[in-house]
Symmetry: C2
Subunit: 160 residues, 2 copies
């Protein structure tokens, strides 16, 4: 891509988008924590996935997406088997740390470039990153319904 593209008017800097995403990730972590241990991988509505499975899917997208964008290594081979809540949270935190290390290594011009994520999803890099974030918000919203249906008050959406 031509270098002048990084000089066009912009909405958000890479550092600010990382802050924005990590704020969402803190909220999603609180939603995982809010589930009773025995409901995380067993409870669902309308034949959808339990929230634990959604959380593992998020983990299998988030750091692997950023890593792929930085390194070209799109490995996504983690197990999606049910596991104790503490293990999900440990994987979540591991992802968080890796994202913080990888993110500043995204070359500034790369956000406008086209890549094929995981060997099958082509798009501009900013679109791939927004997909990871938007998909997390989408499924976390579904987790809110599960929690409400279980009689549990979810964490406030606006607290990050």
């Amino acid at each position: 891509m031509p270098v002048e593209n990084v000089h066009l008017p912009h909405v958000i800097s890479p550092a600010a988008l990382l802050d924005h995403w990590q704020g969402h990730r803190r909220l999603t972590r609180r939603v995982i924590e809010s589930f009773p241990e025995d409901r995380l991988f067993s409870y669902s509505i309308g034949l959808m996935r339990p929230f634990g499975a959604m959380a593992l899917a998020m983990i299998s997208i988030a750091e692997p997406m950023v890593r792929g964008i930085v390194t070209g290594n799109w490995d996504q081979s983690m197990s999606r088997d049910a596991r104790p809540k503490q293990e999900v949270l440990r994987l979540w935190d591991e992802n968080t740390g890796k994202i913080n290390i990888l993110w500043p290594q995204i070359p500034p011009e790369r956000f406008q470039e086209t890549m094929t994520a995981f060997g099958q999803y082509p798009g501009r890099v900013y679109e791939l990153l927004f997909y990871a974030l938007d998909n997390e918000i989408h499924h976390r919203g579904q987790g809110y319904v599960y929690l409400r249906a279980l009689g549990i008050q979810p964490p406030a959406f606006y607290e990050r």
Copy 2:
């Protein structure tokens, strides 16, 4: 804000973020359409709001947010009363058209400035816009659960 801020590395241009949001809005419109008329304002899970009420809340945030950012007029006084699905869709489309007209009027440097949305929510303009978008994704995800619980297949998340 100093003008050089618009020359820092950036993730997404204003025009691309509008495209991204309008893609999400097309999906949300399909979710509204997917609800049976008699369930839009009556069905809910876990004492949450029906999806029709969530959709009206999105309408009361989306165009008013962009208008406020452009003009300083933060009026949000639309009625949130239940209404026929076609009327919700008409309001949705009206919002869409107004957003398309207002968005290019956001001065490029404003995205980094701080404003107080609706007289009570201070934040960087990009944060206020992401709030409107993220809140839409969050509640639309909840609408997916309602649809699944009603035995209705929601539109594909990745189609925009």
